[in-house]
């Protein structure tokens, strides 16, 4: 009976199953994407999904930091940029430098810098931490602009080679698509493991009440730094992939607006929900094209609305507000509840059995 109890479902038990299935989903997308006529959704799905996957690397890590450890960062575009510039510089300056090594270097350096700045900055709390990270992001952006000899200044770095590993060259969006999304899923697996583990509990405890967590023997200050480093590394990885995807980097891709986009993805998707990051990314990636497609779906729209660049952002802002008003815990949370609903009967059934067994104790 103890065994039975020891196997009781905890908050994340459903995740591995979901991960397996969603992986299958995502890897299938390119197949059916080819059959969506361009005039229904005015985007190149594979291309857009590669970028989404790249952002997902950042957001999944950021969710660990914000959603689980409860430490905000408004400067993650900086780590995204550090990853991108590191591999870009290595692969363009050193002829024939293996790109995959560049990606690793980007990830590592980003993590290292995360440690350097995280150690002092994470002593700050709440909005002050937000401000400090925001400041770091701005400083990084200015350095990207000013260190011409290294970063090519505002012009940036051109002719970045495509990613290649074990003799394979990932030079098309489709090839890159699979690399990126397999990486994303690997990161997801890592995060799920982490959240289920001792460390994950420590982080969630720290989020819930730092004092209580401390008192229960969780070394919160160290955990904060470690999870910050982890999220920085994820961001760096995303950035490195970005560099090889766009084959060109310049500071404009690492501005404050991008940091804010990352955090928005986390919150809209669902803080502290392992799927939140992923869902947030997909949602905010596909919202604009959907909005853009609206006029053809409802031709009744006034002509002023027809010019997409005029109303797209208006609607985007509105929807952002509405999402938060009606799904304040994030979309993932809503979906989760929907999924639970299908399980309720099963659970009830199971619980009654368990209860019986326990009475016989």
């Amino acid at each position: 009976m103890d065994k039975q109890l020891a196997r009781l479902p905890d908050a994340e038990s459903r995740n591995y199953r979901t991960l397996a299935i969603s992986t299958a989903f995502i890897l299938l997308i390119p197949v059916w994407a080819r059959f969506i006529p361009g005039d229904v959704l005015h985007i190149d799905i594979v291309n857009v999904m590669v970028l989404a996957g790249i952002y997902a690397c950042v957001v999944v890590g950021l969710n660990l930091l914000v959603g689980y450890a409860g430490q905000i960062s408004l400067g993650h575009a900086a780590f995204f940029g550090i990853g991108a510039y590191t591999t870009a510089i290595l692969c363009t300056r050193i002829h024939g430098f293996p790109t995959w090594l560049g990606v690793l270097a980007g990830t590592a350096l980003s993590g290292a810098i995360g440690w350097l700045v995280g150690k002092p900055v994470l002593r700050l709390k709440g909005h002050y931490l937000a401000m400090a990270t925001l400041g770091l992001g701005e400083i990084a952006f200015i350095l990207f602009q000013q260190l011409k000899w290294l970063t090519g200044g505002t012009v940036g770095i051109l002719n970045i080679p495509p990613l290649s590993m074990f003799g394979l060259k990932f030079d098309t969006d489709l090839k890159l698509y699979f690399v990126v999304w397999i990486i994303v899923m690997a990161l997801m697996l890592l995060s799920i493991n982490l959240i289920r583990s001792r460390v994950g509990r420590g982080l969630r405890a720290l989020h819930s009440s730092e004092v209580a967590a401390d008192a229960m023997g969780v070394n919160t200050s160290t955990y904060k730094v470690q999870v910050f480093v982890l999220s920085a590394a994820f961001a760096g990885l995303g950035g490195a992939l970005f560099a090889h995807f766009q084959k060109y980097v310049n500071p404009e891709s690492f501005v404050l607006a991008i940091s804010i986009m990352f955090i928005t993805m986390v919150v809209v998707g669902g803080m502290g929900n392992i799927w939140g990051g992923l869902i947030g990314v997909l949602l905010l990636t596909f919202l604009p094209p959907v909005i853009q497609a609206l006029p053809q779906w409802l031709p009744g729209l006034p002509s002023g609305l027809q010019n997409f660049s005029n109303y797209e952002l208006v609607l985007y802002g509105l929807l952002l507000i509405l999402f938060m008003m009606f799904l304040p815990k994030g979309v993932a949370d809503g979906l989760g509840r929907a999924a639970d609903f299908t399980e309720v009967r099963a659970r009830r059934l199971g619980d009654r059995r368990k209860a019986k067994r326990l009475e016989g104790r």
């Binding site: 914000v66 002050y128 770091l136 400083i139 200015i142 928005t264 803080m271 802002g317 507000i321 304040p328």
Partner: protein
């Protein structure tokens, strides 16, 4: 950290700034004075935006990322009403403040009030949504070109000790002074204001004072919008109003508010002026490309020494 250390630190910071300023003056003479004057002008702009942040924070603990947009709207309204509509300045100013205040209050009721039980970060994202929304709307209405609003009292620069300053700066100084006095008085002298501060610290206490969190939030947003709009209206002649001006103002305003200590109106002013002066002095001495970097670096350092900003209350470690 004991109170004594706090005070010592404050004096330390003040002394440091003083030293920098004096050094600049001695070393650069009238040029230095010029930098400081410009710094004070820019600083008061930051201070006015920062005050908006502080008001909302001190009564709801929310950071309103749309604060800069209120200021932008202020400028744009002035343009429409006075420059285009030809209304007298005072009327245009009042209308501007009135309209934007209504917008602020309206938004609070529509989107913030329903979220009263939600986590602060959720509300913050809503304000980000609002910022995007307002900016896009403004672009739609006013287009992308920056617009010009005539100075209230001409452009003839006033010069003294070899430095010069445009008359409009005096208006900005004036408004900053009035705003900080009013806001401070409101939060420390009036029952409602005190109640609102209490409301933020702990809702139960507030209900004793007879101020519901709901009223508190509504009033805070109205005040913030009003201050923001007034700021926008007065600074429009100095920094050309444009649909996308809000982002920068918001960023600098937030920085100033944090530097001075969130939730303290005087802090907002101190933070704003410090930030402005530091920026301008750095721009003067250092390669100007780095001036913002230096400003942010100093900001972060200040926070590391004093995690609650210069005039902020220390976050209490309560179990």
């Amino acid at each position: 950290m004991g109170d004594r250390n706090q005070v010592r630190l404050l004096w330390g910071a003040a002394a440091l700034v003083a030293v920098v300023v004096v050094f600049t003056l001695i070393y650069k003479g009238s040029t230095g004075l010029q930098w400081i004057l410009s710094g004070l002008t820019v600083g008061s702009i930051y201070a006015l935006v920062a005050m908006g942040f502080s008001v909302i924070y001190s009564s709801t603990r929310v950071i309103n990322f749309a604060q800069g947009e209120f200021t932008m709207l202020g400028g744009m309204m002035m343009f429409t009403l006075c420059t285009r509509g030809g209304l007298p300045l005072w009327l245009g100013f009042l209308l501007t403040v009135g309209i934007v205040t209504l917008l602020g209050a309206g938004f609070e009721r529509a989107a913030i009030h329903p979220l009263k039980d939600q986590s602060v970060i959720t509300v913050i994202i809503v304000t980000i949504g609002l910022a995007i929304f307002i900016r896009a709307l403004a672009k739609w209405i006013w287009g992308t070109d920056p617009v010009k609003v005539a100075s209230f009292t001409g452009d003839k620069p006033l010069r003294f000790f070899g430095a010069s300053i445009v008359p409009q700066s005096l208006w900005v100084f004036g408004l900053t002074l009035i705003a900080v006095v009013l806001v401070f008085a409101f939060f420390n002298r009036t029952l409602l204001g005190k109640g609102m501060r209490a409301a933020a610290d702990n809702p139960d206490a507030a209900s004793l004072v007879g101020v519901s969190a709901s009223t508190s939030s509504l009033v805070a947003w109205s005040i913030a919008a009003a201050v923001g709009a007034a700021a926008g209206a007065v600074i429009a002649p100095i920094n050309f109003a444009a649909y996308d001006a809000g982002a920068m103002l918001g960023l600098k305003g937030f920085s100033a508010a944090v530097l001075g200590g969130l939730g303290s109106a005087p802090g907002a002013v101190v933070g704003g002026l410090m930030l402005g002066v530091l920026e301008m002095i750095t721009a003067g001495f250092a390669p100007s490309g780095y001036k913002d970097a230096v400003a942010f670096l100093i900001l972060i350092l200040v926070l590391l020494i004093r995690p609650q900003g210069l005039l902020g209350k220390p976050a209490d470690v309560k179990v």
